[in-house]
Amino acid sequence: MARAPFLFPARDKTARAALAGLLPAALLLTSCAAGAAAGGDGEVQEGGELVYLDAELSSNTQLQSSGTWQDSAYITNITDRLIYKNPETGELEPYLAEEFDVSDDGLTYTFTIVEGVTHSDGTPVDVENVKRNLEWQHDGDPDQGIPANNWFPSIESIETDDSAQTVIVQLEEPYAPFLDVLSFWRTSIVADATIEAPIEEQQQLAGIIGSGPFYVESETYGEEIILAKREGYDWAPPSSPHQGEALLDTITILPVTEDSVRLGSLRSGEADLIRYLQPSEEQGLIDAGIDIVSEQGSGNANVWDVRQSAPFIDDVDVRRALQSGIDREQIIEDLYTDSWRPAKSVVTEDTFGFEDKSDSLVYDPERSNELLDGAGFEEFDSEGYRIDENGERLSLLTYIDVFDATAGPLFQLIQLQLAEIGVELRIEETDYSSYSEVIQDPEIATRRNGWPEADPWVRQTVNYTLDEANALFLEEDDSAAQELDALYHQQLVQTDPAERQETLADIQEILVDEAFLLPILDDSQVFGVQPHVEDLAFTAEARPFFYSTWIDH
């Protein structure tokens, strides 16, 4: 992607301008989906209520331990962050930190905090509050069962200077993704009261007190959340076209888990905005005069991890046969809409370090057949699946992902495609609560992974290195594992963007060309929006941001 490298201070206009020139055009194509709903002819109108039907209900808003999409979207609207990641350009810009500076050795970060900002409980966002937030993110709160933010670097010290309004963070070693991490919703700045509250309180949105353009007016479990405009809000990121208070008076968030009810309520005009549509539903809504807004989050692509513990796939030729046996174009054509795109690498195009690996992802069943013939699976059994010399069928096990609502048909189509090259994909299903336990089974060959992220490489480091999650189930003495490990750790500390980019290219080459990951598609969040909703915006990670949104009465 093409986002500004992290080492340049925000005020360094020359550096930033130069970097802006590096942005690939793709970024501009992907980041402006909001425009579909924006651009009304009328004057901007203040006031009114936006009724937003979410597909799921808020479950846990505790910052360091939360991971659900809906919670992250709500948190984004009621809090601010130190750094703003401009979704249009991918640049890291001032936000609560009106200036930020990184020392040449990449070890000292200096943040100058905007004056006069307050949380919705009236307490100030000052250097002490920011320091406390950073310490809390770094350490967690073990007594309360609150984990540390594991995207955070190792911090040696955090000091404040009241008169200069600065917070100075000293790292133990350079950490390339730090500013990106600070721009992510999980690192939102909250009031001391939230940090001090028990975890049970933090798990509810009303327990999250921030300085954002909205605050939680009320929350009834499972029923509704009402966000109200924060009076006097005047510290939006300087690059935001809208400044001052939010335009909407309130946002009523109603969790409606039943798809047909969500759609029916939008069509009948009861709702202004709904999240999550099945691809097959889009055309019907367009015909009914509803706008479809699809927003692609920057970060990891929707990929399948190929786990080395499962039978057959420790052979690189078998893995490569899978890579070229999946027809990504057909997947998009048959199951999805224009809102979705085939993956070109393990990360989305607008991600820093993205390498176009399309050539390695071309659908080529003949190549797959050759590879499998050469790998000792020349014979077929009575059902048309390949067998090895012992008569054992080339059969792979997978589980339908419970976090991705489109996973069912997607898995089935890939199953059909792999059957064409003689590979059996056995699809099993389990429920949401058992999934994380079931998926530990080393016999499982592939697992869907990959989500939008402020810095996908941190996530991948957590996922794929041996000393962390080791989601590929690599053996320690595996040379590819050692190489990947070294590259992941190297990119974390590389302070020169060009060098880091090279390392990231090497990582993608191993992951894609050796087919440890099967990139499938670039995910989208799809919304149905009434035409009277204007200027719906999104963060770089595709969370809806209602600050500039207004209703054309």
């Binding site: 039943e258 029916g264 309520s265 949401y432 609560s433 336990e437």
Partner: protein, 349 residues
Amino acid sequence: MSYTPRSIISRILQGVLVVVLTYVLVWSVLFLLPGNPVQSRIDNPQNPIPEDQAEFILAYYGLDRPWYEQFTVAVGRLFQGDLGYSLGNGHRVTDLIAQGLGETAALAVLALLLTAVFAFIVAFTAVFAPWRSLRTFIRNLPVISLSTPNFLVGLILLQIFAYNLGWFSSIRDEGLKSLLLPAITLATGACAPVAQVLIQGLDRASGEPFVNVLRSSGYAPQSIVFKHVAKNGSIPAVTLLGLTIGELLTGAVIVETVFNRTGLGFVTEQAVRSQDGPVVLGVVMLVAVIYTAVNLLTDLTYPLLDPRTKEVAGTKKTGQGVSETDDPRAKEHEAEHGDAVSAEKGSTR
């Protein structure tokens, strides 16, 4: 059947035993099942938590302790009225149950009322309507109703009355008005078995010899139907209606999802979906208590409908008891019929 104070106490103690055993069983099942919301949080692919951090979290919730310690803590808290917190969303279990129960109780009461009304209308029409074709048609209604899924009825009602006519909101709580469509949906399903049993009861009762006697004694047909046949033929249906209360309180999961209500069914669904132990346990215990209490009450209600189950001055009068009709002409025949009811009740229960 007779009730002495001793037998009533014995029945109550049996009920308590059922509740205690349910607690132990459910707790054990939840403990043995893999997965819980805390583990899901730790393993969430969108935010996996490393092992050292996970230890803090498991320790905070006491999930790292041996089963007997966890059980002792849970039971200890239970005696203080503390059902704990949801592992998934941090709400107090008692708050969740209170919120769910409040929503559901109102819905269940209305649905029960409609169930009784629907069942009685259907059964009386099926048995006593003057036209044979109507009777046959109505007799088939319960089967159709039983084979129609709840959610379908709910979605059709929503389509007509919410989306097309706009009389109801499909998503917002409009107080009492919001209860009507879900209550009709629930009652449509729940009335079917009640109506079927009532039809059988009325058929049987109306074929009893005492009806001929009443008729030949010059009683008006309405009086025979509503005063005598209905009373004798409805006991099994009332038993079933009693059990339906439990069903309506707990079985509203799908209807609540369709109508976007956050009642007990919703709380249960969410808790089961994420294996949220404390909430599941709380809900199951509530249901166990309700079922046990309703069963007990239904048993104790029989004497009101069938006076021969009353104990009069320590004398059992089963089979030749006090008649609910004061008319001596019918007394003998009715007593004869009473035996059939007792036998039938025994088999129904």
